[in-house]
Symmetry: D2
């Protein structure tokens, strides 16, 4: 089956077998460090966040429409194994006072940086013992957060967002369960949509997988269509601010190469310092062909955090 897929790709893409491409090997430290943003850099592609980037995004706001790309945080949403979202309402007593004020709040117990629609910071992933820019985990990890690369350094991101609708390009509502998105898929979809990427963009991939979020959590988690390593590296070369997608791993899962485990997370976060935005709700953007917009996301400033659950939006 794997051979067959590889063969189909060879035919379809007119390139040498990409089976080899999936035999991805993490670059050695010397090859990837210092990062192009400097040896002390902690922001990676977040450095694209400049006034002109904001203004470029602002110019795309023409109708005032806001698309919610976030999802409801709840106990029974899909989770990567080992994560959860437990919540308990606290109905506190009436306060003293003639104004009879009651106050409610909630306790939450959750891997809050890595549940729901989530933004990945650079403390989240490693190649071996090091993070982005070859920061050693052992040097920066404490029980209560990372002393470098924490998500609190990111801040509001506002940039041009481009939806690459790979599902539509392939003529389906949802890509197949383990469909590997190739460079040709990305380029073909962009061509169909008459769009080109620019440095600093938020590159958002629509696979259609998100329609399982509320209907079939087990299938949503089990596998997913996603980027091949070649596709991820091609996007990285376009120099985006972030990569977003409507699944959790971003990488096609399981990887076509059984020896690899989510290499796209490493390509984006560790090798290139590009943030990831996962589990996005993209159905309305796709249905409305809202392919270009101001993408706004405000990661929580969790001190030393690896990421943040977020409620981003696309505005046009």
């Amino acid at each position: 089956m794997k051979t067959h897929i590889a063969f189909a790709m060879v035919v379809a893409l007119g390139i040498a077998s990409s089976a080899a491409a999936q035999s991805w090997t993490p670059p050695a430290d010397a090859q990837r460090c210092p990062s192009k943003w400097g040896a002390a850099d902690q922001r990676g592609a977040g450095n694209h966040m400049k006034p002109e980037t904001v203004l470029r995004a602002t110019r795309l706001i023409r109708t005032g429409e806001v698309f919610e790309l976030g999802r409801v945080l709840k106990t029974d949403m899909p989770f990567t194994p080992g994560r959860r979202f437990e919540m308990e309402v606290k109905r506190t007593n009436m306060n003293t006072g003639t104004n009879r004020r009651g106050s409610n709040e909630e306790i939450v117990f959750s891997e809050i940086g890595q549940v729901g629609v989530q933004f990945d910071g650079f403390a989240h992933q490693t190649i071996g013992d090091t993070l982005y820019n070859c920061v050693k985990v052992a040097d920066v990890a404490t029980r209560a957060g990372f002393t470098k690369m924490g998500v609190e350094h990111v801040g509001t991101l506002m940039t041009r967002g481009v939806l690459i609708d790979v599902a539509a390009f392939k003529g389906v509502q949802m890509l197949a369960d383990t469909y590997p998105i190739t460079v040709d898929d990305l380029q073909g979809a962009l061509q169909r949509q008459k769009l080109t990427l620019q440095p600093g963009d938020a590159v958002i991939i629509h696979t259609g997988w998100g329609r399982l979020w509320d209907t079939d959590a087990a299938r949503y988690i089990k596998s997913n269509p996603g980027l091949t390593t070649a596709a991820a590296e091609w996007i990285a070369k376009q120099d985006p601010m972030l990569i977003g997608i409507d699944n959790g791993p971003v990488s096609v899962t399981p990887d076509p190469d059984p020896n690899l485990n989510n290499p796209v997370h490493q390509i984006a976060l560790v090798v290139n310092g590009i943030h990831l935005l996962e589990n996005l709700k993209l159905d309305e953007l796709a249905a409305r062909q809202a392919w270009e917009f101001a993408l706004v996301v405000q990661p929580l400033k969790i001190q030393g955090g690896t990421g943040s659950t977020v409620a981003p939006s696309a505005i046009r």
Copy 2:
């Protein structure tokens, strides 16, 4: 003693006594329900969030500057008693795979809707047994969230933000520990800044209290300058989308009337359906005299939640 304080204020501020104004009584249900937004409404002043509101805010973005109004979430930030932010880093083992991928995440235990810079939804506060629009707490509260008025219904808010710099108007960097902000203060500050409020605005009050956030958590929590009931009612009449401030209670604390306990929370959330945005970091906006901007905030979609910790921004 109370009379004495009121007298001192009259002398110091040269205005008529506001002691009477603080003898606030919550309006009866019949007086405040149904809300002006309709008997079934759950959005309150969030209904101001319309395309034209977004466009109005967008037109204020001229330089692309982003001011971070959020604060770092950490264990030792100031908390309302009974709340906390506990975090533990989980350094998970290497995944299998030749790509040697390591993955980190964090567990958080927190009253996450009501810590740090926080956005208040309508399930947060009551007058007696009812929320905004006279929804009975007993009818909508479950162990795991509120079936109505949950913060998941809010979504991205983007509107014109106006900073009312009361501290600057009073000629101080920080208002005194229990300073009661009056209607005259608000009107005087706006006049000084040559600004007027419009329906749907985010009205942001600068008291200077936020400078204690990182330096003196005990004092930050103990009392605070804040709105009198009259000032809050005056703002409510201007029909804003939300009220923001650089302290936690919004109300002056303790209340000049010892029989009242944070009446401003009730005036805003319960009586008028106006969201609150608390503990904002406003020092840069004030220092730069950035008084008018696009205010963007993306509350987490906590199902049935009373509020959300947020990382809002002001863009101009």
Copy 3:
């Protein structure tokens, strides 16, 4: 339908209908307060815990055999809805030192007083607004525990334990899913076992339901054989220190009277001040006919807690 079930029971068990007995009404405050242990009492039947009680139990220890009545605390054990046991191992880094000491610990998030094999204190249950001895919940509840009736006051309990093997008396390994245990069942079982109860005993009921704990959590929780109100009141009249059983509710569930919700919890904890010990592992005691023993249980001293998960044992 209810009549039909009652009729079937009459036929099957050859006893008079107990339907009337289940039309239980909670006694008025004046009928149940002050408790027989005094108006200020917080210990209830825990007052039986005296040196002579310990010595009486000690004399039953003849072989030194210890039966573990506790169960393993784990994420996937049966839970009353709304409770959970979440645990995460913390592998802390090596400590400095030439002795290369590593240290591991775990974070637990759980309704720890009310999960697994659990001991119920008097803050756990109410009739209307009051606890045991007519203490008003509103007077003693704080966010962080109860100022009276907390489980920290209980301490080690060691007393004569008597296993009443109702399942064996009925000639089954496990009573049926909604089997209501009657006074006749208890008396018949004791007669068969040639045992009589004494004041201060730990009365332990074997229904066989515990065999579902590890095999069918859904069925374990859905319903259970348990005490009728008449049976519970009969046991209370025997003046025990505590009542233990191999299910969670103690009461037969659902109650034969559809208007009642776990009245046995109220009869024991609120009306009579008798502690409950739930979800006990009793299979070995029953199989070995170890009907009389020293029962030892050490509730955690959770300040202001409603109960405690425990690992009790029977020693003989």
Copy 4:
């Protein structure tokens, strides 16, 4: 400096210098494995728990007096840094039913295996990468517990307890802040008390440090009198079931050898497979000279847990 301290001790205590003893080096794997209890053993000194051990302890129960050795679990008790006990009462709504049953429970967030009076299992400590019996941490650690050496395997321990009152032997109520307990101290105290240790005993050390538990948490944690490595190794040679003490580390802290970090934890748990019982409340035992008793402790059966908070007792 170290020499100076050692000299001072020689003078003050009139014993030979024990400085050399503290230059402890963890034994190599080959020296300590397999354990004397067998290569597959997970119980260590818990193997002493046999019927005859229980009977031996039972014979010490002559008056029926119970001494509570546990402490109240609360948010503001002393903690090893990085641990906590957070609790929130859940007042659940009235249940349906004419019996008006209300139900309360609590959520707890805590390093529950390692807070308060705590029992240490063998998954808690390592020498380098291995636990007791040279089990590799990497082979048995999962996110949710250890697959071997978990505290759920321990069960009720009941054995002869012997209080060694070192404080009384030294003529003080509380040993000094960094007092190193020597072999001579232990032997001298036993001689004074006219007691000898037997294999399988619970050896309980009274330092008096526990009187700080409720009065000075900061000092309680900062340092403590405790066992030297030589003293710990001497106790280990007596072949006890467990070692208990009225402080957290058991080891004298800081260690007289600045290169060592709590070597006694390793000597007991990793090298010899002897459980530890920490932060015990021993004041009443000491005041009453209750030196010999039945020690009973029931560790929670936390699946794969490193330890358990407990509420042990001494019965005589």
